[in-house]
Symmetry: C2
Subunit: 305 residues, 2 copies
Amino acid sequence: MSLVVVGSVALDSVETPFGKREDVLGGSATFFSTSASFFTAPKVVAVVGDDFPQKHLDALTQRGVDLAGVTREKGKTFRWKGKYSFQLNEAQTLDTQLNVFQAFAPKLPEAYRGAEYVFLGNIHPDLQAQVVEQVRSPKLVAADTMNFWITGQREALLRTLKRVHLLFVNDAEARQLAGEHNIVKAAQGILAMGPDRVVIKRGEYGALLFDREHIFACPAYPLAEVFDPTGAGDSFAGGFMGHLARVRSVDPRSLRQAMVLGSVMASFAVEKFSLERLQEISRQDIDSRYADFRRLTHFEELPHG
Amino acid sequence: MSLVVVGSVALDSVETPFGKREDVLGGSATFFSTSASFFTAPKVVAVVGDDFPQKHLDALTQRGVDLAGVTREKGKTFRWKGKYSFQLNEAQTLDTQLNVFQAFAPKLPEAYRGAEYVFLGNIHPDLQAQVVEQVRSPKLVAADTMNFWITGQREALLRTLKRVHLLFVNDAEARQLAGEHNIVKAAQGILAMGPDRVVIKRGEYGALLFDREHIFACPAYPLAEVFDPTGAGDSFAGGFMGHLARVRSVDPRSLRQAMVLGSVMASFAVEKFSLERLQEISRQDIDSRYADFRRLTHFEELPHG
C-alpha cells in the first residue's frame, strides 16, 4: 500500500475564460496526493515556505495524506501564475517564482524508503534520480517531465529515464523527447530510452498506454464544461498510481483500470478551480464515473456470418 | 441490404511527405462504396467524364458495387489536387476542377428508390436534398459535409439537415457548424438542427458518436505509418453504413459496431495511396483488426472493496 510522491506544493494564480483565482492551492504533489488519497495513503516529499497556509496542510492530513516528508523553510512558497486561452489545451506561464523550491533537495524520511510505488513529479531530473536512490526496492517508479527539462536538461533526463519504469508525458512532449512526429514511433522511441511503459496524455482526446507489446487507448470523459485544466495531469497520475498501490499489482488488467481511474480523476479535477472539485467528490462519484467510462467505450463482438 | 451512396468519382493528384501520385482513383463515392463492398452491395449515384478509365469502373463492379446510377457525360472527370504536410491532419487543396460534376443532378434509377440506407457524400446540400426526395422510405439517411458548405451554403445545409438522421463531420467542422468550441456542446448544437445522431471524426484521435442520450468513443487505430489520409472519412462512412445495411439495424449495439468498423476501414485506407490498400485487403483482415480494437480498448470492472 505504500506510495511516495515527490513534487511541488505551490500557490497558483490562474486565469481561464471562466474566471480568475489568486494564490490558490496548487502544485504537482498536491494534485497527485489528493487524487491518490481516494485509493491509498500517499506519502509526500515537498517543501513549503513560511507563508504557506497551515489549513492547506491540515486538509491534506485529514484526507490521510502523510506529510512527514514535507518541510517548511524560511522564505516564500513556490508560486506559479498562468493563463488559459479559450482552447484550454495549454497554459501560458505568466510568472514562475521558485522561492524555497530553488534549494529543494528531496530527503525521504526513513518510513518512506520501503515504498513500493513512487511517483516523481515534474521537477529537475537530477532531483528525481536522488529520490530513486533513497527508495530500497520499488515495484514501480513512474515519472512526469515537461518540455523545459526535455530541452534544457536532456542528458540528466535520459539518465533518470534509465531508472524509471513508467513515464507520463503529453503528446507534444513525447514527440519532442523522441524526435518523432508519429505518436506510435514516439512511444517506441521513449521505450528504447529505458522505461517499460509510457503513458501519453492527449488532453481532451484521452490517453494511450504503451508497453513493448500492447497499446491501451482510453478516451477522455466528454465534458461540456472545462473550468480549469491546471493539475489534470497530476490528478491523472494520482488516480493511476493510487489504484496500483491499492491493488499492489502492475499486471495488465490493473494497469488498464489505472488508466481509466486516471482519466476519471483528471475529469473531476478540471470541473472546478484548483483542488475544489477533488476535495468535494466521494469514492462513489469515482465509481459512478468509472461505470460511465465502461458505457462510453463498450462495444460487442461482430455477429457471425 | 440496400445501401445507396451519392458522391463524387474523381481523379486525384496527391502529394504527401511519402510520395506523390497523379490522376489516381479518388472521390467520396469511390472510397465509400469500396469500403462498404465488404459488407453489402452498395449502389452508386455519380457522374464521370469521357476521360474516366473504364478499368476503374470494372474494378468496382467486380467488387459487387452497383453502378447503374453512374452516368458518363461528355467532358472531363472531376479532378482534385491536394497536398499533405508532415502532420497529415488536413489537406491543402491545390486545385479543384469540377468539370462534369458542375452540372451533376443526381437521379436515382428506379431500383435504387427502395433503399433503406442512404449516404449523402460531401456535395452541395441542395443536391443531397434532391436525393432524399427520390428515396421512398429510408431507415437511415446519413450525410457528410464540409467547411465549404457550412460557410457558403449554410441555409441550404440547415434545410438538408432537417431531413437527415445522422451527420458525419470532423471536429473543426462540428465547431464551425454549431458555433461552439466545446465538442460536447457542438454535438448538442448539431442534434438540435435535426439529426438524431452525429459522428464527430477526430483523425488520429478517433471518433465520437452522439445521440440525445449517449456518447460512444472509439479510438483511431494507432498506426506507425500513415501514407495518405485521402478518403479516410469516406472509408469510415462506408464501413459504418455498410455494416448497418448488412445487419439491417440501427440499434445501439449495431451503431457501436459500425463505429468500430468505420475506424477499421479508415485505418486501412490511409496505409497506402488512393484505393490501393482497400483493394487488397480481405474480410479476414477486417475481422482481425476489429479484434485488435477490442484489445486496444478493453478494460475490466474494478475489484470490490
